[in-house]
Subunit: 455 residues, 4 copies
């Protein structure tokens, strides 16, 4: 069934029909489409377009269609060009010509925009829940691994020691921003297009504020052209997805490197590792590679939709049909990734000994400079003095901590015998006491804050 | 001057130095860098690292450097590898070794993140002001052009008539979403990295909450690793820019088409048109083409930064340096576009006669269907009936409004002699009375709402 | 069945297994995978790893598996993690443990790279054929529509008249470049990875040159690390697809505008148009909008893969798995688009009268300037003179061709009474005689060249 | 000076003029613009439009303008809206109104397309030269480091040992593909637009084949609409750049990881390293991070141009102006990157001892399986047997090579006392004898081939 055709004398070319059809992806809107139709039927009744009896029949018919979808018994026909058509076709089979009244004053333009927003408003809480679960896993790791020292890196070079828990919490906060952004998206998505018709508004006096309330939207669109053409919420979702993807890629990359034999800081559980068809010894972090790679795909989905939207001149252009497959794919991929990462992180084993042993005395160079600062040396001079010491140590092939006191004092007279204390990674960490630093008591407070934010 | 080098025995290769330098773009951070340094000096004094006298000297020195920038008298040296280095170098020339105390407990990692955020917090209100100005222009047009009827398009085909003012307000609301998103960005940007050091936090007990207040941030970052690595705000800005760019491209595309000779709905002023070097008659909408094209560029800037961020494993990787040129370019381009579009729209002339004349009677086909619906015919049948009429009219080469009444009644007996009223574009528009529709009184209310939102 | 697992003590998490599986998309490689395996079996026999008898059994077993795929009788099992595993599993069911010899000296890394290349080498000729078909349609249109004059546009403004056939041939040449690029892709794809093992090469002395010949490759990779990691051909394919997509989007955009009521230059056949669920009169160019939109999607697929590839450090990283779904989707979409566009263009009707009538006398302004040039006036002055005439005509509200001769002579004395000839669009077109111009005899020659190139 | 304006009554708005101007970037076309103009003058003379004397004067005038550019003495004026205008304005100052004849039958549309192609044809050999230089460096490293064994990685996990020289040559071949693609680009770029006018061709009978020869193009465009609208060569260049960028990012990423303290395989020279403003010990691979990050930027440039090109309907739209800044930026960035990488790789020190020591006995697991295969065990069983051994070794906390012979024989009776030989990384490497493998004699042959390809 097509919802148009009266004016056409020739059928749509078969291949063109296939290309034009959106059923392959929009059937996932079945439930929200029916929900929207029920609300629309009520609005039509409220506007006097449908009698109470007609309304009842329509609602019952729609319920039957919904039941078929719930029970996976709905049978699509080749002529159903989209989910809206399929639902109306089936409705007509159930209740006859009355079904033809449902589309009064409504267009697929406002209908599909409404359906898609309803779907998104339903999906966001699920994704938020998964994000929360992953955050919970990170908090648990931060608690469980408290005390473990990790070399902190900048430029992939050892920089300063940090608590591993501090590192896990970093990931927590990154995801918290994703959750905040998701809440902004809810706000943005929650504006109702229904009742705006094809582009010019409806000539039937439906109460769109009541309709918004009925469907759980905050308010109706104040401009019908905007209502049917706006896909900011879809682009916003894809940006959210791409940025979350980037966050997960950074986490994944770090874990991949940490699980290399050369680093050896973590070991993935067998349940989240795979092997090689050729090399019997291999234990590969495939899942982490996939969660890393996914960010590329998500960037492409975002880019793609933005490029599609660019330059569209009308209130509705068919190009907008590209919005749903992209958003659905992004949502599905992230749902998988978040679940897998949560399981993977919960079950990985850390090797605290390897981490601690990896901390080279040079990592305390800043502490040595700070040592001089505390004795009144301007930081810039202190920095240079320690740099000179590093150079001497490297030239002599010794660890920095093995330089004799005389050498230190040659470099700067303010160095004294208490200098060795500065080489303790534990003391280094303990010293980072400013808010947000890696000192244990700060990290404990941070953990408390994170738990509170998580709710 | 380099802020490092103590440990190095060989100089940086010249070409490598050029590639490593960020001065070409980050000199634009001079003012905020100095502002940040002043606040940091105060924080160090508050933590007892600087005496009151040292603080005064530092502040005075920084003020002198700031004055040089204000007066465009600052002279960069080849060895200045970035703006932070240049400022500290000059400070040292003014106040001597004391300058070397300023960097105590601070790293360029937290410094540059702070500078960049300060710059963005300053820039956002300017862009918001420009958006507001363009919105104001759109409101003025909506007022000025009230009464003009425009063929409304979907699929670039005539769909239903709308008020031109309704069309202008569509653009208004699109931009309102951009402004809302900008406010979310302020929230996101307003978290302070300063005092987080290179990655592990500061070992000097600076009060980061006071520092945040001093610099106008809402709160300090609770995690030092996150503070130096987070570039969500930059990606968020580029997404905002790309989506705004897409909005402007849609507006531009429509105006380009409307200013073609074939449409002839608008005429750009000479002040916003250009000509051809070969064809003497040409009057080209180059500016609109540039504002359309720009969206492509902005999509590329967003894509580029997201791809840069993907997979970065450390708390700080030099890759992050790509953040600023992209954001600066996006901000500059949009500042130009918004101003140009505002002028162009304010000065274009509309041809209301052409618009009205372009409205084909077929555009009232939905009204004809609604006519039947009001007589009790289910919409779906009404749609088919009118479709059949359209086909007959086309076959006979007549306008739809010229079909004789008998033909209408053959098609559906409910058609009566009052059918001709349905062909009035004015009545069609007047009928779209549901909230958000194009009926004049609805558009007037919408206009009032828009004025109120604009503030 | 997994091709690894000996060293693992715990099963792969269910969700992780789903995410890790590539079967959903790589089953489309079944045929080429088996072809590759047959060739590999022969190579192993050639290297003395398999006896002739073993080879026969393997080939027969593989043939049986191939038959199952051909007959759509192959049944996947949940444990088949990819097509390679599925094929080997089934082979084992047919021929027992001997199947386990097939993977000797081969890894999925070289196997999948080979399969994917084989698939591409098979797919390219199909796409090339479709391109050729669309080119053929364009040539036919150029022939059929010979004589029709079209306003030529720059900046969407009328510029100079051209032959419609010249316009169709423009599209032809654009696609010719796509075909040329496709041939470069064949060259690039036709390098054989098989026999490179996981990354280090094979320790069995297989003859990779013979293997290349057997499978239709031009040569084997000279470096095993490169062989398994190279995805340039996939990125190249996606770029090819994106650029072709851009070409089709430009064509589509022009046709969409030309089929608007305001332009009215072309009319799509019903077989390639769709209607509206609300507005009975609508005849929408949905297919053209989809072929336009598709370019956005294709850009996203390219961007996505490039972002995936960025920064991969190993000889093989699982991230590479993202290559296939992107390439498959691009190929499928373009196959549909090319077929639909070919049908749509072949069946559209042109309205030569509307096109001719749309040509405003101003379009001959360049001819007027050329007229002066032929009388010895430097072009720049001629340009200014005609520009002044255009301004006068517009000020007086008259068409340019209605300016009295005196006005022309006031503007420039070289204008004489033969000026009116210059206003003929037919003469304007006839004058563009330089190679590549729109003069009819030039276009006929161009058409001959196009036919020759098409072969 | 503007090359148009005759028909305009009002000046271009100042900001609009700034936005419209392309001089900021296209001044870099000065030399090729003048070269193109000289050839055009000759063509006009050939067609009888210019007398020989006029031609001489024009050529001399153009030479003077060229000299000013060469000597950096050319002074731009605010009214020069692009390089073409600036050159013609200056020419007029030198030779008077005759300058106005130069633009006869030419438009900026064909002129700029020609200039841009000339620039590209000049630039490509430089970039090719730089690629060749980097390839030369890689060959030198392959020679110099011959004998060093590197753990080969897949999934960032140790896989099989390879020769470091084999690894360097991998990079060589990747770049060779970039060079091949560059040659395809030359072919594609080398088609001449000049003489196609604004869009419809030239009405003066210039010999475009002679013009092509004069300017070093292979042939003229056969279709004028195509000639002015085609930007495939620019998109192709940006794809080339993005893919090269991806290659360099993979190389950079590997070197960054190899230069971490935990891997410790290479050490960058001080000339290609930088330090930290806070941490005195830091020696950072900033340059490698920039060459890695750059790939993101390059992907964005490509995406941006493709999105710009999408949907352009006319023969020339101003949007095309975005082509040059993107291409120029890509070329500049790659020129820097290639030079820096060449220097960096030439001067880095390898730590062959660390590499060799990093090779864990497990890396020879495939060799152990191959050992069984040589004794007639089907590979799949051999793989499982060795997998079981790996699991036993890990469970007992011993290196794989320390498992007692009995254990091996329990796992599979075919293991015999010669098994220990299989644990030699040197023998493992020596065994990879198939073409393309890492066996020393194969790598030597590969090196010879590489040298030969390099020329």
């Amino acid at each position: 069934m097509k919802l148009w055709g009266g004016r056409f004398s020739e059928n749509l070319n078969t291949l063109a029909a296939r290309m034009n059809s959106s059923l392959a992806f929009d059937q996932r809107l079945a439930e929200v489409d029916i929900r929207g139709s029920k609300a629309w039927a009520k609005a039509l009744a409220g506007a006097g377009i449908l009698s109470q009896e007609e309304l009842e029949l329509l609602l019952q018919g729609l319920e039957k269609v919904a039941d078929e979808f719930k029970g996976s018994k709905f049978v699509f026909q080749e002529s159903d060009e989209d989910i809206h058509t399929a639902v109306e076709r089936r409705l007509k089979e159930f209740i006859g010509p009355l079904a033809g009244k449902l589309h009064t004053g409504r267009s697929r333009n406002d209908q599909v925009a409404t359906d898609f927003r309803l779907w998104m408003l339903e999906t966001i809480p699920h994704l938020d829940g998964q994000l929360k679960e992953l955050q919970g896993t990170l908090i648990e790791r931060a608690e469980r691994d408290m005390g473990a020292l990790l070399p902190g890196y900048t430029h992939m070079q050892q920089a300063q020691p940090v608590l591993l828990s501090h590192w896990w919490l970093w990931q927590f906060w990154m995801l918290q921003r994703d959750r905040d952004r998701l809440m902004n998206l809810v706000e943005e998505t929650s504006v109702l297009p229904l009742g705006c018709g094809a582009l010019a508004g409806s000539s039937f006096p439906v109460d769109r504020f009541a309709l918004a309330t009925e469907l759980g939207f905050r308010r109706p669109f104040p401009n019908s052209l905007d209502a049917v053409s706006d896909r900011d919420f879809a682009a916003g979702f894809l940006f959210w997805a791409a940025l979350l993807g980037v966050h997960l890629s950074r986490l994944s990359e770090a874990l991949i490197i940490y699980s290399s034999r050369e680093f050896g800081f973590i070991r993935l559980s067998d349940a989240f590792s795979t092997g090689s068809s050729l090399m019997p010894q291999k234990k590969n972090p495939d899942l982490l590679e996939l969660t890393r790679a996914q960010s590329g795909k998500l960037i492409g989905l975002l880019t793609g939709l933005l490029a599609v939207l660019k330059g569209l001149p009308s209130a509705y252009d068919k190009d907008l049909q590209e919005d749903k497959p992209a958003v659905f794919e992004a949502a599905d991929r992230l749902a998988d990734s978040l679940a897998v990462l949560s399981g993977l992180i919960a079950t990985l084993e850390i090797n605290a000994g390897r981490m601690r042993a990896a901390i080279d005395p040079q990592m305390m160079a800043t502490d040595l400079a700070d040592y001089l600062v505390r004795k009144g040396v301007p930081f810039r001079q202190a920095h240079e003095a320690v740099g000179a010491a590093v150079q001497k140590a490297e030239a002599s092939g010794k660890p920095l901590s093995m330089l004799p006191l005389e050498t230190w004092q040659e470099i700067h007279p303010a160095f004294e015998s208490d200098i060795l204390e500065a080489f303790s990674a534990e003391i280094s960490v303990k010293n980072r006491v400013a808010y947000g630093g890696t000192a244990p008591q700060e990290v404990l407070e941070q953990l408390a804050l994170a738990r509170q934010v998580l709710g």
